[in-house]
C-alpha cells in the first residue's frame, strides 16, 4: 500500500467530517449547551487541522485497490476516533467515548450511558461532567469574559446534552448508508478508485449497478435514503413526537442504528402509531436500497419480485408468530403482535430499538431474537450481520449438496430468483458465513475470559453482547439487556466489542484485509 496516496483520501475524509461536526455543534448552540458548543467546535477544529496536515503529506497519485481498502477500514476507525472526541471532551473516558462513537457510526446502538434526566433524555454523570475538558474550558472562558455583558456563561456544566444526543443519532445516519459512500458521492475526481471504494464498503453478493457511473450510483442511493428519512421525520412529527426526537429517532431507524435520545427507547412515547411508523421504516431500511430505487424509478414490483426480500419478509412473519405464541408476552393478542412485530423487525434489521424489556421474555423468544441478530437484514440495506441473502444461499447450497449425494452426476445450478448464482459469488458468500460464525465464537471466548470474575456476565450476556455488536444491532440479553448498558463491562471487553462492531460493519473482509502481510507490501 502507498501510504501517501492513502493519506490524500484520508485527509479529504477528515475534512468532510470536520464540516459535519459543525451540525451537532449548532444543535448544542440552539439548546444553549455551552459545553456542547465548545466540545464540537474543538473537535471540528482538531479534525480539520489533522485533515490539512495529513493532506500536506500526501501525493496526488491515482489510488488503487489497496488504498481503497485502507481508506474504508482505517477511515471507519478514524471517523470513530474523531467522532469520539466530543464525548471525551464532555466527560466520558476515552474507551467509553470510542465505544459510543463506534457504536454510533457502525449503527450498532449499544450504549455505555447510564444516567437519565427528568424528561427521560440521556445525560452524562455530573461528577464526570464537572471535571470534563469542555467544562474546564468553559470556566476558563468565563473568567476571561467575566466583565463582558454580551456573553453570559453559567458556572455549572450543561443540564442537557441535546447536541451530543443529536450527534449519536446523526453519526448513525451517516454510517447507515456508509460514510465512504457519502465520500464517493460528493468528492470530485475519484475516478476508478470510487468503484473500488464502493466495492470495499458495500460488500455482499448483491451488487446491482444502478447507473453506469459509480458516483451516480452512490448519489442515487443517498438520495433515496434522504428521501425516506425526510418522510419518516415528517410522519413522526405529525403524530406528535417532539421535533428533536423525530430527527434522532428517524436517523437511528433509517440507519438501523438504534440510538434513541430517550432512555426508554421507543417505549418512552407510549404510542402505537409511533411504533407502527418506526416498524415500517425499519423494515424498509432493512431491505435493499437498490430495489427501493427501482421501485421509485422504474419497476413498481421490484421489491416483491426479489427472492431475498421475500425470504426476509417470511422470516419476519414466522419469527413474529413464534414470539406471539411462545414468547410469554403480556397483553391481548393485538398488543402481543404489536410488541413482537416491533421487536422482531428492530432486531432483525439490526436497529435495536425496544418497546419492551425483551430480556424478561421466555427463552424461546430470546433465542429467536438471538438468531435474528445473527441473520440480520438484506444485502444493500443499512442493516448489518450475516444478511438474509447469504443465509438463503447457504440453505440452497445445503439442499444442493443433499441432492448431489442422491444424484452424483447431476449438474445442479444454484438459482436465486430464477437466475443461476455463479460460483465466484457463492464461494465468498458461504465463506463469509463460516468466518462470521468463527469470529463470533472466538470473540465470545475472549470476552468470557476477560469477564471471568464478573458474575453478571453469564453465558447469555456474553454471547448476546458479541452477537449484537458484531451484527451492529445494539442491545443484548442479561446484563447488556435493552434496559441496561455496556458501561459495566471491563475496558478490555469494551475494546473487544469496539472491534467487533468495526469488523461487523465492514463485513469482515475489508477489516481483516489489514492483517494480510501482502496488503502492506508496496
Amino acid at each position: 500500500m502507498r501510504i501517501r496516496v492513502f493519506l490524500r483520501l484520508f485527509a479529504s475524509l477528515l475534512k468532510i467530517l470536520a464540516v459535519l461536526l459543525l451540525i451537532p455543534g449548532a444543535v448544542a448552540a440552539y439548546y444553549g449547551e455551552t459545553g456542547g458548543v465548545i466540545a464540537f467546535a474543538v473537535t471540528s477544529l482538531l479534525t480539520l487541522a489533522f485533515g490539512i496536515a495529513l493532506g500536506r503529506l500526501s501525493t496526488g497519485e491515482e489510488p488503487g485497490l489497496k488504498e481503497g481498502f485502507a481508506l474504508v477500514s482505517l477511515g471507519w476507525l478514524g471517523a470513530a476516533f474523531f467522532g469520539a472526541l466530543p464525548y471525551v471532551f464532555l466527560g466520558l473516558g476515552l474507551i467509553d467515548g470510542l465505544f459510543e462513537s463506534m457504536s454510533a457510526f457502525t449503527t450498532t446502538g449499544s450504549s455505555i450511558l447510564t444516567e437519565v434526566n427528568a424528561e427521560g433524555y440521556w445525560i452524562i454523570n455530573n461528577t464526570l461532567a464537572d471535571s470534563s475538558l469542555a467544562h474546564q474550558l468553559e470556566l476558563g472562558v468565563r473568567s476571561l469574559t467575566a466583565n463582558s455583558t454580551w456573553l453570559q456563561i453559567s458556572s455549572s456544566p450543561d443540564e442537557t446534552y441535546m447536541g451530543l444526543l443529536f450527534w449519536r443519532s446523526f453519526a448513525q445516519w451517516l454510517g447507515g448508508m456508509g460514510i465512504i459512500l457519502l465520500f464517493v458521492a460528493i468528492l470530485p475526481r475519484l475516478g476508478v478508485a470510487g468503484r473500488q471504494l464502493y466495492r470495499a464498503e458495500v460488500p455482499g453478493p448483491d451488487k446491482d449497478a444502478l447507473t453506469p457511473r459509480i458516483k451516480q450510483t452512490a448519489r442515487v442511493l443517498w438520495v433515496v435514503y434522504i428521501f425516506m428519512t425526510v418522510a419518516e421525520i415528517v410522519l413522526l412529527y405529525v403524530v406528535g413526537m417532539p421535533f428533536f426526537d423525530s430527527l434522532c429517532n428517524t436517523f437511528a431507524s433509517m440507519a438501523t442504528g438504534g440510538f434513541s435520545p430517550q432512555a426508554l427507547s421507543i417505549a418512552a412515547y407510549k404510542s402505537g402509531i409511533v411504533d407502527g411508523i418506526i416498524t415500517l421504516f425499519m423494515f424498509l431500511a432493512g431491505a435493499n436500497f437498490a430495489l427501493h430505487y427501482k421501485m421509485i424509478n422504474s419497476d413498481r414490483k421490484a421489491l416483491f419480485k426479489d427472492a431475498e426480500f421475500r425470504f426476509y419478509s417470511l422470516i419476519v412473519l414466522a419469527t413474529t408468530a413464534i414470539i406471539v405464541l411462545w414468547g410469554g408476552l403480556q397483553g391481548d393478542i393485538i398488543r402481543k403482535i404489536q410488541l413482537a412485530g416491533f421487536q422482531v423487525v428492530s432486531v432483525m434489521t439490526t436497529t435495536g430499538f425496544a418497546t419492551a424489556d425483551f430480556d424478561q421474555w421466555t427463552a424461546a423468544a430470546k433465542f429467536t431474537l438471538m438468531l435474528l441478530m445473527l441473520i440480520g437484514a438484506c444485502a444493500g440495506s443499512t442493516g448489518g450481520a450475516i444478511k438474509v441473502v447469504r443465509i438463503l444461499l447457504v440453505l440452497k447450497s445445503v439442499y444442493r449438496e443433499l441432492l448431489h449425494s442422491l444424484h452424483p452426476r447431476a449438474v445442479i445450478p444454484l438459482k436465486l430468483g430464477g437466475i443461476s448464482v455463479k460460483d465466484e459469488v457463492l464461494r465468498p458468500s458461504n465463506i463469509f458465513v463460516a468466518t462470521y460464525i468463527f469470529i463470533f465464537a472466538v470473540a465470545s471466548l475472549l470476552l468470557a475470559i476477560i469477564c471471568y470474575d464478573d458474575p453478571r456476565m453469564n453465558i447469555e450476556s456474553i454471547l448476546s453482547a458479541v452477537a449484537t455488536t458484531l451484527g451492529n444491532t445494539g442491545p443484548g440479553f442479561g446484563s447488556v439487556g435493552p434496559m441496561l448498558s455496556f458501561a459495566e463491562i471491563h475496558p478490555a471487553g469494551k475494546m473487544l466489542l469496539f472491534f467487533c462492531m468495526w469488523i461487523g460493519r465492514l463485513e469482515i473482509v475489508t477489516a481483516l484485509m489489514l492483517l494480510v502481510p501482502e496488503f502492506w507490501k508496496k
Partner: protein, 439 residues
C-alpha cells in the same frame, strides 16, 4: 409451379424428390457430391454458392414461385431469401438453426422478406413433445391448420383393439379412422379384413375433438409423468423446456460438462446429469426403467440407437429416437425403437406443408407412405364420384374437410368441388391418386 431449392442435403433432397414430379424444380448446392445425388431426378442442378445473386438469377430466381433455402448455413439461407423477396418471389422459406435468430419451430418473418423461418431442431423437438398426449402415442401432427390430426400409437394387449380393422374402426370414437399399420418398420394400408395385433403401430386420422375420448378408450392413466432425454443439444434443450412446461418430471443426460452448465442455467426444473447416455450404470442409477418415455436425441445415430436399446432393455415404456440419417429410420424401428424421427424429414414436412398453391399439400413424407391432402378443383375427375370406389388399391381416404368441417366418408360418399380430401397411399400409387384430382 417453379420452385428453387438451395441446398441438396437431406432436407433439400427430400423436398425435391416430393415435388419434382409435378413442378419445375431447380436445386443449387455447393457440394458436387450432393449435386450428383440428384441425378436420378428430373430437376435442374446448379453447383455454386447460393448467396450469390448472379447465380440465383441464372437459376431463374426472379421467375420462381417458391424459394426454399435449406442449406446448412443460416446466414446463407437468410441472404438467399432476402434476395428472392427483393426480386419479387412471393413465398420464401429459410431453414435457420441458430437460437439467436429463431425461438420457435416456425416463425413468420415477413418484415425481413422471409415468409417462414423453419428450425429443424426446434421442429423436431416440437414434434417429439407433441407425442405425449397419451402414454402410447408416438406422433401427433396437426393438419389443415389444426382441423385434422394424424396420430400414431402403439397397440398393447390391454387395448380393446384386437381384431379386424373394419370392426375396430366401428368401435373407435366418431371422427377417428385407421389409415395405416406399421408392423416392425413395414408400413401397409390395411383392408377391412386385416387383423391388428399387439405391438402394431396404428396411424389414425382424427377429428381433434374426439381425441379425449380416444385417450379414455386406450388408457386408464391419462398422461406420462417421467421423461428421460439423452443429449442436451438444441433438440434436447428445447424438448426439455417444452416438457417442463407440460409438467413432466424430466431428466436430461448430456456428456459435455460446459453444455450441462449452460442448459442447467436456462432450465428450471429439469435435472441435468453429466454423463454418457450409453453408460448403463448411469441409466440404472437414474431409474431409466421407470421412465414413461425416453428420448434419444444426441447428434450421433449410433449413440442414439445404443441408448434407445439400453433403455428398452431396462424397461422404459416408450422410446423415441432421433436419427440423423433418414435411411436408418426403418432399421431403428425394426430393432425396437418405437419411433425414429429425422430432423431432415421433419423439416422437409414443415417446408412441404407450406408449399401451397398447387392442388395438393403434402403433410407426411416417408419413403414408406405418403399422406397428401388434395383440394378437389373444378373439372377434376373425382368430382361427383364415390371416392372409395375410385381410389386404387393401397390407398385410403381418411377425412374430408367440406366448408372447413371434418367429415368421415362412408362407402357411397361423393366428392364435391372445393372438398379437401386426406388420402394415405403407398408411394407406388401416389401418381395414380393424383390423377383423380387433377383437372
Amino acid at each position: 409451379m417453379r420452385i428453387l431449392i438451395t441446398g441438396a442435403g437431406e432436407v433439400g433432397f427430400l423436398i425435391a424428390s416430393e415435388l419434382y414430379a409435378d413442378h419445375d424444380v431447380t436445386v443449387i448446392d455447393k457440394d458436387p457430391a450432393a449435386c450428383a445425388r440428384l441425378q436420378d431426378m428430373d430437376v435442374k442442378v446448379l453447383q455454386g454458392n447460393s448467396a450469390n445473386a448472379r447465380l440465383l438469377i441464372m437459376a431463374g430466381i426472379n421467375k420462381a414461385d417458391i424459394v426454399a433455402a435449406v442449406t446448412g448455413n443460416d446466414e446463407v439461407n437468410v441472404i438467399t431469401c432476402i434476395i428472392a423477396s427483393h426480386l419479387g418471389v412471393r413465398q420464401t422459406i429459410a431453414r435457420v438453426s441458430n437460437p439467436e435468430y429463431i425461438d420457435q419451430p416456425v416463425q413468420d418473418r415477413k418484415e425481413i422478406g422471409i415468409s417462414y423461418m423453419i428450425c429443424p431442431e426446434l421442429a423436431m423437438a416440437e414434434d417429439l413433445a407433441r407425442s405425449l398426449y397419451f402414454p402410447s402415442m408416438l406422433l401427433d401432427r396437426e393438419l389443415a391448420g389444426g382441423k385434422v390430426e394424424l396420430i400414431e400409437f402403439k397397440v398393447t394387449e390391454e387395448m380393446p383393439l384386437q381384431g379386424p380393422v373394419g370392426e375396430v374402426n366401428v368401435n373407435l370414437p366418431d371422427g377417428c379412422k385407421i389409415m395405416a399399420i406399421n408392423r416392425k418398420g413395414d408400413i401397409s394400408i390395411p383392408s377391412k379384413e386385416d387383423l391388428i395385433i399387439s405391438q402394431d403401430h396404428l396411424f389414425l386420422l382424427c377429428n381433434p375433438k374426439s381425441l379425449p375420448e380416444l385417450r379414455r378408450m386406450l388408457h386408464e392413466e391419462s398422461s406420462p409423468h417421467k421423461a428421460l432425454i439423452v443429449g442436451g443439444g438444441m433438440v434436447g434443450f428445447y424438448l426439455a423446456s417444452r416438457l417442463e412446461k407440460m409438467g413432466l418430471d424430466v431428466k436430461l443426460i448430456e456428456v459435455n460438462t460446459d453444455r450441462c452448465r449452460e442448459i442447467a442455467d436456462k432450465l428450471s426444473r429439469t435435472m441435468i446429469l453429466n454423463g454418457d447416455g450409453t453408460d448403463i450404470s448411469l441409466l440404472r442409477e437414474e431409474g431409466a426403467e421407470f421412465m414413461d418415455v425416453v428420448f434419444a436425441v444426441t447428434g450421433l445415430d449410433e449413440k442414439n440407437l445404443l441408448c434407445s436399446l439400453l433403455a428398452k432393455q431396462l424397461g422404459a415404456k416408450k422410446i423415441l429416437s432421433r436419427v440423423n440419417r433418414y435411411d436408418y429410420i426403418k432399421l431403428f424401428e425394426l430393432v425396437g425403437v418405437d419411433r425414429a424421427v429425422s430432423p431432415g424429414q421433419v423439416t422437409a414436412d414443415a417446408v412441404l406443408q407450406r408449399v401451397t398453391g398447387g392442388e395438393e399439400v403434402i403433410t407426411l413424407s416417408d419413403e414408406r407412405m405418403e399422406l397428401v391432402d388434395f383440394i378437389a378443383k373444378a373439372g377434376a375427375k373425382i368430382i361427383g364420384k364415390s371416392i372409395s370406389k375410385e381410389l386404387p388399391k393401397d390407398s385410403l381416404v381418411g377425412m374430408i374437410l367440406r366448408d372447413g368441417r371434418p367429415m368421415m366418408p362412408d362407402d357411397g360418399f361423393k366428392v364435391k368441388e372445393g372438398d379437401r380430401v386426406f388420402v394415405m397411399s403407398m408411394p407406388e400409387v401416389v401418381a395414380k391418386v393424383k390423377k383423380l384430382f387433377i383437372s
